[in-house]
């Protein structure tokens, strides 16, 4: 782990956050400081240690294939920034390649 090498502009792009150049600089410095603190983890002997994704070990929590009521469409679309009849209306999808 090397601290301070965070490419804030690239990460912001991934996270879909528009940042001003001043923010890139400020966040870059702050995150660099945090990463420096975080680098202490390198001292921990973790080679033979399992990773904990969930602290309470459970498995196979599932539900039966049983229908539950859906939401009323007006409630759903009522909270939308923009709607068009029965649909959510979103800005044009250009250059967005899933």
């Amino acid at each position: 782990m090397a601290s301070g090498d965070i490419d804030v502009a690239y990460v912001a792009k991934l996270a879909r956050l528009a940042l001003t150049p001043a923010e890139v600089e400020r966040f870059g410095a702050q995150l660099g400081a945090l990463l420096e603190h975080v680098d202490r983890l390198a001292a921990l002997p973790v080679a033979d240690v399992g990773a904990t994704a969930q602290v309470i070990a459970q498995s196979n929590v599932m539900r039966d294939d049983v229908v539950r009521p859906s939401l009323d469409r007006e409630t759903v679309l009522g909270g939308a920034p923009e709607r068009d009849g029965a649909y959510f209306r979103v800005p044009r999808i250009i250059g967005e390649d899933a």
Binding site: L14, A53, D84, I94
Partner: protein, 502 residues
């Protein structure tokens, strides 16, 4: 084991060098459940937009996913059908990227520990050769919503905005990833058909490409025959039928071949199939970094399959279509087309199997099943298994024909009659005297009457127009109400007309 003995996989000559096509296919198949993958909203096609949605599948703040047990079991069954390994431990991961029809801006999927690994999909090609394609894995994920693009031509380019319907968001989707074992367009289609018939037979999916419940992407590259390393591949998307898969592959093969022929280089990219134009086009657009940042979904627990569960699911697999096809072809000596047709018609293979067990005449049984029975099923909308023509009745008819007790005309009429009215064909034949008349005395009487009533035809025949024989035989059959043995009738007609020496 990229061993398809695929006659269609003829090498392509490019600049004097023989090239082969290498393909792997990724299929997304919607699972046939009542409800979505992580919530209780209905999983149905064609509902009013945004009516089968809830906080979970809309990705509303605070909502949490809970996996659908049936979806997991269906996927495992699909894998078991192809001999996949079911790892003892599997988990869900988040695949992070932004897209307007993906409610949470991450997709719950599986990254490094899918529900199944490995497996082989065997299939028959139309030319009678056998092929197979290895599966890399089958994993479970959730479907996205559906966007429609508001522009003149409905394409993304030039649209002013998009409309999103989230009914499909969260529908359980299994992704079947194949190894690059496919070497021709017909093999690709045969592979997809093999998947489809297995999923349909197991009740895993409807597999309706036109409704989007099966979508596939083909990764395609060319390389000189004998070369081990792969050429640069392109990914082809947007095919909406098996036929368009075939056409898209052929078009993309030709496009890549032409580029190589002209000394060009293939660009690794995603290409969309344009059904109307019959070509693929680049879907590359503004470069977006693809860094999906997979990590285990902290909202979900791992899935641990006990050997007992796997055994239970394996035991629930009966009548797998590929095994039947193999049996029909190798034991029953049916053609591949016949075997596929029987297996691909719902319920027909069961009917055929039961009838053949009684008749012990597979080919004759198959002819009736695929001929008269299929026609009647189409006309009446009733599958053979639900008609009044039980397998015992069909077996009686087959036996009557084999014994030459009835002729094929009578058999056809009997099938139609029993189909709608029921009854024992053997008893009907006995009661109504429908048995084939093979007594030359009786036939001679009919022949004399027919010749007397058709003087012009007799004259024509004698003048050398031997074609009228067919008409005369028909007249004898008519007089006999269809019961005369047509071969004998013709023989007696010739004798009466003086050709007896032949």
């Amino acid at each position: 084991m990229s061993a398809t003995l695929d006659a269609a996989a003829a090498p392509i000559a490019i600049g004097g060098v023989a090239y082969e096509v290498v393909m792997g296919i990724e299929c997304h198949v919607e699972l046939k459940t009542e409800t979505k993958m992580f919530c209780g909203c209905r999983n149905v096609f064609g509902a009013e937009p945004n009516t089968n949605v809830c906080p979970v599948c809309l990705g509303m703040p605070g909502a949490l996913p809970v996996p659908n047990r049936l979806a997991i079991e269906l996927l495992v069954k699909a894998g078991l059908a192809f001999g996949s390994e079911i790892p003892a431990y599997s988990k869900f991961d988040r695949k992070n990227y932004f897209y307007p029809d993906m409610p949470k801006d991450y997709q719950i999927s599986q990254f490094d520990m899918p529900l199944t690994q490995g497996g082989v999909v065997p299939f028959w090609l139309p030319d009678g050769t056998h092929g197979s394609c290895r599966l890399t894995r089958i994993h479970l994920e959730e479907d996205t919503g559906k966007s429609s693009h508001a522009s003149r031509d409905g394409r993304i380019a030039g649209s002013t905005h998009s409309l999103v319907d989230f009914n499909r968001a969260g529908v359980p989707l299994m992704e079947c990833v194949s190894e690059p074992d496919i070497r021709s367009a017909p093999a690709a289609v045969a592979y997809l058909e093999a998947l489809k018939r297995t999923f349909v037979a197991l009740g895993v999916s409807d597999v309706k490409m036109e409704e989007g419940s099966l979508r596939c992407d083909v990764n395609l590259s060319l390389r000189p025959v004998g070369q081990e390393e792969y050429g640069t591949k392109t990914e082809i998307k947007n095919m909406n039928s098996f036929n368009s898969v075939r056409r898209a592959i052929e078009s993309e093969m030709a496009r890549q071949a032409e580029i190589l022929e002209n000394g060009g280089r293939i660009v690794q990219e995603t290409r969309g199939w344009d059904e109307a134009a019959g070509t693929t086009h680049s879907m590359r657009s503004k470069e977006q970094a693809h860094d999906y940042r997979y990590f285990p979904d902290p909202d979900l627990t791992p899935i641990e399959f006990a050997p007992l569960d796997v055994t239970r699911l394996r035991e629930s697999l009966v009548g797998l279509p590929q095994a039947r096809i193999d049996r029909f072809v190798s034991d029953d000596k049916l053609s591949i087309a016949q075997a596929h047709q029987i297996v691909d018609t719902p319920g027909l293979a069961d009917y055929y199997d039961a009838a053949t067990a009684l008749t012990e005449k597979p080919q004759a049984t198959a002819n009736f099943v695929l001929g008269d029975l299929s026609r009647l099923a189409n006309e009446t909308g009733v599958p053979a298994g639900e008609s009044r023509l039980g397998v015992e009745s069909l077996a009686e008819i087959v036996a009557l024909v084999e014994a030459k007790t009835i002729n094929s005309k009578t058999a056809k009429d009997l099938i139609a009659r029993v189909w709608s009215d029921g009854g024992s064909p053997r008893e009907i034949v006995a009661a109504e005297g429908l048995g084939q008349v093979s007594d030359s005395g009786a036939i001679d009487t009919l022949v004399a009457a027919v010749l007397a009533a058709n003087e012009k035809s007799v004259a024509d025949y004698r003048a050398g127009k031997t074609k009228v024989m067919g008409f005369l035989v028909g007249q004898v059959m008519k007089q006999s109400r269809g019961t005369a043995n047509p071969t004998l009738a013709e023989e007696r007609l010739r004798a009466a007309l003086g050709d007896g020496a032949e």
